[in-house]
């Protein structure tokens, strides 16, 4: 039974590839057989994913070797990390496919769409399940190439072509970085087996550090980190399910790469700090820019940029399990948010019943913030020293509590302060407790990743403190928007955020993808 299951999940990428091939027989309008088949296959894959996740958690890691030509090989690795993500991808994929069957009904090329969606899903699964650098590289490039076809689904739209081209350029830069890292690692370790590479990485500090830098670079490009985030904001020239799949399944690939290669990554504290800085800046820019967006999909896209930044920052702190949980939670949330984005008018109608005052006094803000933070500290203290000693957890809990405080200050807690304050304190403790429970479960559930979490050093502590201050500042900015809007600096900040500080545009101009250079009806 075990063996069959392993082969079952191992064949999932092939299953989707077969589906893609079948789609090429029915590429056009209303491909009825393909629709049925696509739903069945994807549901089957999701069930396989679930079963294999249970298997791996119960019985331990499994691996499947397909072809070996020393030192290269095609092999899959089923460990807790890969099966968790594979399950999530299968699930989101199933939902996107079933959504698209309806959503694109009547489209001239629905078959082609379902085909490329299957191809993309198959490639992502191959990437996630890969057990060797070669497999990883193949999955990495294939994902991007299949996605490219989805981005170009309406190829007569000039905007779609322009944006796909932009994404293509960044993706190839990422490929080169990953390829270079792979060559370095295979050459040093003498094998392309990922676990074997991880085991020897610590013995080759210098090469490993260089490889880590390349890996980080590839991950930053893949996960749309500032300042290479521009493409993610514009890829809306293709049907909504592509956005859902992209934001919930594919953009995570950068984070996945860092987690998969965490053995290599931790050999270089400098690279980790680089991730903290880039991720942290991206998180703050993304989340503040999200507030200024006027269209629902742009707001969701900026939110993804911010969330990916936060996740990369978690990787930088070495909080690998937290990053994995972040990926999982974000996938579910963002897939839902995109697919249901047509309901924004209905939801707005339902909340138009009351007006909420945005501004709030400094004193009250400070009070509420302090309270939330102290609730967090209290919970952390209750949770015990085990969590406190883990790198990255102090800033993470601090950011959670700053968020809570900000939320309370923003919500209309105005009357009944005596009643509200204790309630808020209890609510804060509740949320923090849930958070810490989930994080503890992550530490227990993913021992391999947890083992790589480094101990906190002095330099790192400085960065942690700076991060907390930065997020605190962001909260203050977000709380005083109406005041800020009245100042000259505030106006510049607003426009800068709305336009992503123009850095995307400048970079594109520099790379020769000039935003103004588009020809109508070309």
């Amino acid at each position: 039974m075990t063996a069959q299951l392993i082969w079952g999940i191992a064949s999932a990428p092939a299953l989707f590839a077969a589906l893609a091939l079948f789609a090429s027989l029915q590429p056009g309008q209303r491909p009825l057989a393909l629709r049925k088949f696509a739903k069945l296959v994807s549901i089957f894959a999701a069930i396989l994913g679930f079963a294999s996740a249970i298997l791996v958690f119960a019985e331990g890691d499994q691996s499947v070797s397909l072809v070996t030509i020393e030192p290269l090989s095609l092999s899959l690795m089923l460990d807790r990390l890969s099966v968790s993500l594979a399950f999530m991808v299968c699930l989101v994929g199933t939902i996107c496919i079933s959504f698209s069957c309806r959503y694109l009904d009547g489209d001239q090329d629905q078959g082609r769409f379902l085909g490329w969606m299957s191809a993309t899903l198959g490639s992502v699964l191959l990437l996630i399940l890969s057990g060797s650098m070669t497999t990883l590289l193949i999955g990495w490039v294939a994902t991007s190439l299949a996605l490219h076809q989805l981005l170009l689904f309406y190829r007569d739209r000039p905007e779609a072509r322009r944006v796909a081209h932009k994404k293509f350029v960044f993706a190839r830069l990422g490929d080169v970085a990953l390829g270079f890292a792979a060559i370095l690692l295979i050459w040093t370790a003498g094998t392309d087996d990922i676990s074997a590479i991880g085991a020897v990485a610590a013995d080759h500090q210098a090469v490993a550090a260089l490889a880590a830098l390349c890996l980080a670079f590839a991950a930053l490009l893949k996960s749309a980190q500032f300042p290479t985030h521009g493409w993610l904001l514009e890829v809306m020239e293709t049907p909504t399910p592509v956005s859902a799949l992209l934001h919930a399944g594919i953009v995570n690939a950068g984070g996945f790469l860092l987690l998969r290669m965490s053995d290599v990554l931790i050999t270089s504290p400098a690279v980790l700090l680089l991730l903290v800085v880039v991720g942290g800046v991206t998180a703050l820019v993304g989340t503040l820019a999200m507030l200024t967006q006027t269209s629902i999909k742009s707001a969701l896209a900026w939110s993804t940029v911010g969330q990916m930044g936060f996740m990369i920052m978690q990787c930088g702190f070495g909080a690998f399990t937290a990053a994995l949980l972040h990926i999982l939670g974000h996938s579910a949330y963002k897939a839902y948010a995109f697919l249901s984005s047509g309901g924004v008018i209905d939801r707005a109608r339902q909340t138009r019943f009351i007006r909420m005052d945005q501004s709030s006094g400094i004193a009250r803000t400070a009070l509420l913030l302090t309270m939330a933070v102290s609730a967090g500290a209290f919970t952390l203290w209750l949770a015990g020293p085990q969590l406190l000693s883990k790198a990255g957890f102090i800033p993470l809990v601090a950011i959670l509590t700053i968020g809570l405080g900000h939320w309370f200050a923003q919500s209309s807690v105005r009357q009944h302060m005596f009643l509200a304050l204790p309630l808020i304190f209890i609510l804060s403790i509740g949320v923090c407790a849930v958070y810490l429970a989930i994080q503890s479960a992550g530490l227990v559930g993913y021992p391999d990743l947890a083992a790589n979490i480094p101990q906190t050093g002095t330099v790192q502590t400085v960065f942690e403190m700076m991060t907390i201050i930065a997020f605190f500042t962001a909260a203050l900015i977000a709380l005083h928007i109406s005041t800020i809007n009245n100042t000259a600096v505030g106006k510049t900040l607003y426009l800068g955020l709305r336009r992503g500080f123009y850095i995307g545009q400048k970079l594109e101009k520099w790379l020769g993808i000039d935003p103004a250079h588009k020809t109508r009806n070309a």
Binding site: K297, Y333, V431
Partner: protein, 807 residues
């Protein structure tokens, strides 16, 4: 800063007048929250067909006909006959720039149509000269600003300039926008400081710099506004609704100032070789081209072909009406009289309901039942208009307050939750604590397809109070008007059902477009409830009796709501139903269920691969892009007694208004029908017409790319103009148009002289009819469609030959 050109004299240009003329040409665009149909050609109604076609082609870049090859194909399939073309030529002879023969048309149909040149703009010229799309840049730049300025709730961090007057806001924001530097327009940005803050002066200055020939100024201004036509429409809507609410409204001057200033500054600051030199030549060339009569003839042929396409269908329906033998009218008292909205979606249900039981009579009436109200939902801050958007509601009605606190609490909870999910810092913790629970949402909405819960309505408070309400006399007037308009003064049945309509769909930004347009893009439940509560009121009935209108004691007015997506009819206010009617209501309920099933079977044929149960699924599937066809197909408006059409399958494409000329001696009802429901029907029809014949300019594009902007409307993709009109999926099923664009054919059974009087007294109606935006036919007292309105208050007998040719 250059001095204005020497030949410039400020007195020469009345820019306020220019802004008004051009502003009137822009159709208002309602927000998605209450999306009501608007005639996109509303501002062109005063133009004759060729003239309108010219303006549309040169200034808006829009068209009024298919490609020539489509007509050629129709001729081959005999969907279009030579007789239709001859008939169209005869009908349109007054409008043609020079005489055209059938042979000319038949020869031209195989050639490609000559493109009418678009009005030159600096952006267009620069695009041509530089190979860089300055039209797109202009649209993106101005639209991005407009989205921030008009946003009503998407951005938590709103634009700092949104409280400034429009032109000032644009100037201030653009002066800060470093995106211009990247576009190579840094000098433009700096120079903005020298532009006057007053929009009037800015327009004068820009026009002087651009030196556009005086005759072309209107077309030029319209062309510039059309680049951001969606946002211009939204701005026009804001002015429109402000004026309806008694405010001063607004004119197009500030937005025109934005567009003109941008153009004049492009001319000055774009580093494009030869731009300034070519600019003036271009106007000279444009004027030369415009005068070519060949282009005009060419356009006229397109319009004739399309009219022929319309006539082929019109002849068919006239033929069907003239050969239809109505069932013998039953003189005994009916069991049920069911009044539905004139909406085309009522027609199949009326037919199906009548087929259940001979003692059921159905009637057609405007879906707001004659009571337009400002309706304040409990807990809400702002009232909504539940009535046609053409009139200011005379009454205010409040929902009773017992649910207000609960609703506010829910809204507070939702807002708080949203603040947690989308807060600047809390969003990170949100994803890690609450994020995984969205798996549940993904699965349930994919599998179970849960139905959206509509809030259960509370009681209606319409009796006079400080906040408005309706006094008893007005209530009696209203009641009398409703009963008279329905033609039921002396023959009320025990149950008189007034059914409003609404539609259920999930995850659909255009949901309100499927609701009742006569109720301002809401469902008609509130209006039906209000009307029936008044009609059932003993005091009102006493008042009616005093006026000689005796409502039988056993008559119960039943409010109901027709869900047009599911074809289910729900009875409202059931707690008020008299116990004596319980059995009768149960019978009616059973008949409605059967009728609904029959309609769904019929409607499912219009959806590819659909069946009856599939239509129910469509109403709750979050991935559905075609929950129902809405009013697609609407082509005719018939005002006549129901027995003229009873038993005739009109396919859900006809507005049916009840009208008995004999019972309307002072022609008050005729006047009402022709000036209100008929115009609304024509607006809806023209909205569908425009969105299907010109989906690029007047449609909102592909639903799968829709991106809701500012909680107002949609973008197609990441950027561009606010889109107006209907989505492509609402008029096309992927294989063929679900709405074949035909201008409305109205058929009214009434003497022609009184109709002439109505037309004469109502300019907009006369424009629509005289310029061919809709067509009017008269039905004589024997039920034969006998004459057509030929414009200018003239009627022409329909030739039998033309009819038999297509029979």
């Amino acid at each position: 800063m250059n001095a204005p050109h020497s030949h410039f004299t400020p007195e020469a240009i009345d820019v306020v007048e220019l802004a008004k003329t051009v502003g009137d040409r822009i159709p208002p665009l309602w927000p998605l929250e209450n999306f009501v149909a608007v005639n996109p050609y509303q501002g062109l109604a005063d133009l004759a067909p060729v003239e309108a076609g010219n303006v549309l082609a040169s200034a808006v870049g829009a068209r009024l006909s298919f490609d020539r090859k489509d007509y050629a194909e129709m001729l081959r399939d005999e969907r279009l006959r030579h007789g239709d073309i001859s008939q169209a030529l005869a009908e349109m002879s007054d409008f043609l720039p020079n005489p055209i023969t059938l042979d000319t048309v038949l020869k031209a149909v195989n050639e490609t149509s000559i493109q009418i040149p678009e009005v030159p703009t600096v952006a267009r010229l620069a695009t041509e000269l530089a190979g860089r799309d300055w039209c797109q840049v202009t649209q993106d730049q101005l639209s991005a600003w407009a989205a921030g300025y008009f946003d009503v709730g998407q951005a938590a961090w709103p634009s700092p300039w949104r409280d400034l007057p429009l032109f000032q806001a644009w100037k201030a924001e653009t002066a800060e926008d470093r995106n211009l530097d990247i576009l190579g327009l840094a000098s433009l940005r700096r120079d903005l400081a020298h532009i006057p803050t007053d929009p009037k002066e800015a327009v004068e200055q820009a026009l002087a710099r651009l030196a556009v020939p005086e005759n072309d100024r209107e077309d030029y201004a319209l062309s510039l506004l059309s680049v951001i036509g969606g946002w211009a429409g939204h701005y026009r809507y804001l002015g429109w609704s402000d004026a309806l609410a008694g405010g001063p409204g607004s004119d197009m001057l500030p937005l025109l100032a934005v567009c003109l200033t941008w153009e004049s500054m492009l001319l000055e600051h774009l580093a494009v070789q030869g731009l300034a030199d070519q600019w003036r030549n271009r106007w000279f060339r444009h004027e030369m081209q415009g005068a070519v009569s060949e282009t005009q003839t060419n356009l006229a042929i397109d319009l004739v072909l399309h009219r022929a396409f319309e006539l082929s269908w019109r002849n068919e329906i006239v033929e069907r009406l003239n050969t239809h033998t109505p069932p013998v009218a039953d003189q005994t008292r009916a069991d049920v009289q069911a009044a539905f909205c004139i909406d085309v979606r009522s027609e199949p249900l009326r037919r199906a309901l009548e087929s259940q039981n001979e003692k059921i009579e159905t009637l057609g009436f405007a879906g707001f039942f004659g009571i337009a109200i400002d309706y304040l939902e409990a807990g809400r801050e702002k009232a909504q208009i539940r009535g046609p958007v053409l009139i200011t509601p005379p009454f205010s009605v409040e929902e009773s307050h017992d649910r207000a606190r609960l609703r506010q609490f829910r809204a507070l909870y939702r807002k708080g939750y949203k603040a947690f999910a989308q807060g600047a810092v809390s969003c990170f913790g949100f994803v890690e604590t609450v994020g995984p629970t969205y798996l549940g949402g993904l699965l349930t909405r994919s599998i179970a397809r849960l139905r959206g819960q509509k809030p259960r309505p509370g009681g209606l408070r319409y009796n006079p109070s400080e906040t408005g309400g309706i006094d008893l006399k007005t209530q009696i007037d209203t009641a009398e008007a409703i009963i008279s308009s329905l033609g039921l003064r002396d023959r009320l049945a025990p149950i008189v059902m007034l059914a409003g309509h609404g539609s259920t769909s999930a995850n659909n930004p255009y949901a309100s477009g499927l609701d009742c347009g006569a109720c301002g893009g809401h469902d008609g439940g509130v209006n039906a409830r209000l009307a029936t509560q008044i009609l059932n009121d003993p005091d009102v009935r006493k008042g009616l009796a005093e006026r000689g209108l005796q409502v039988p004691d056993d008559t119960y007015f039943l409010p109901a709501l027709h869900d047009t997506c599911r074809d289910e009819v729900a009875f409202l206010d059931q707690e008020y139903a008299p116990s004596t009617h319980r059995q009768k209501l149960e019978n009616l309920r059973g008949e409605l269920v059967k009728a609904g099933l029959q309609v769904r079977l019929e409607r499912s044929a219009r959806h590819a691969g659909s069946d009856e149960a599939d239509l129910i699924r469509r109403s709750q599937d979050w991935a559905e892009v075609r929950p129902e066809w809405g009013l697609a197909g609407c082509s005719a408006f018939i005002a006549a007694p129901r027995h003229r059409t009873r038993g005739l399958d009109l396919g859900g494409k006809t507005f049916l208004h009840g009208y008995v000329a004999d019972q309307d001696p002072d022609r008050g009802l005729l006047n009402l029908i022709m000036t209100a429901p008929l115009i609304v029907a024509s607006w809806i029809n023209l909205q569908y017409f425009a969105s299907s014949i010109d989906p690029v300019k007047y449609g909102s594009g592909n639903k799968t790319l829709h991106n809701v902007v500012g909680q107002i409307g949609v973008l197609e993709g990441a950027a561009g103009d606010l889109r107006s009109g209907l989505p492509w999926q609402s008029v096309h099923d992927g294989e063929a148009l679900a709405h074949e664009p035909r201008r409305l054919t109205a058929i009214i059974e009434a003497p022609r002289d009184p109709m002439n009087k109505v037309i004469e007294g109502h300019d907009h109606l006369r424009d629509l009819l005289d310029n061919g935006w809709m067509h009017l036919l008269a039905m004589d007292e024997s039920g034969k469609v006998s004459h057509r309105y030929a414009g200018n208050l003239q009627w022409v007998a329909l030739e039998d030959t033309a009819l038999t040719a297509t029979a």
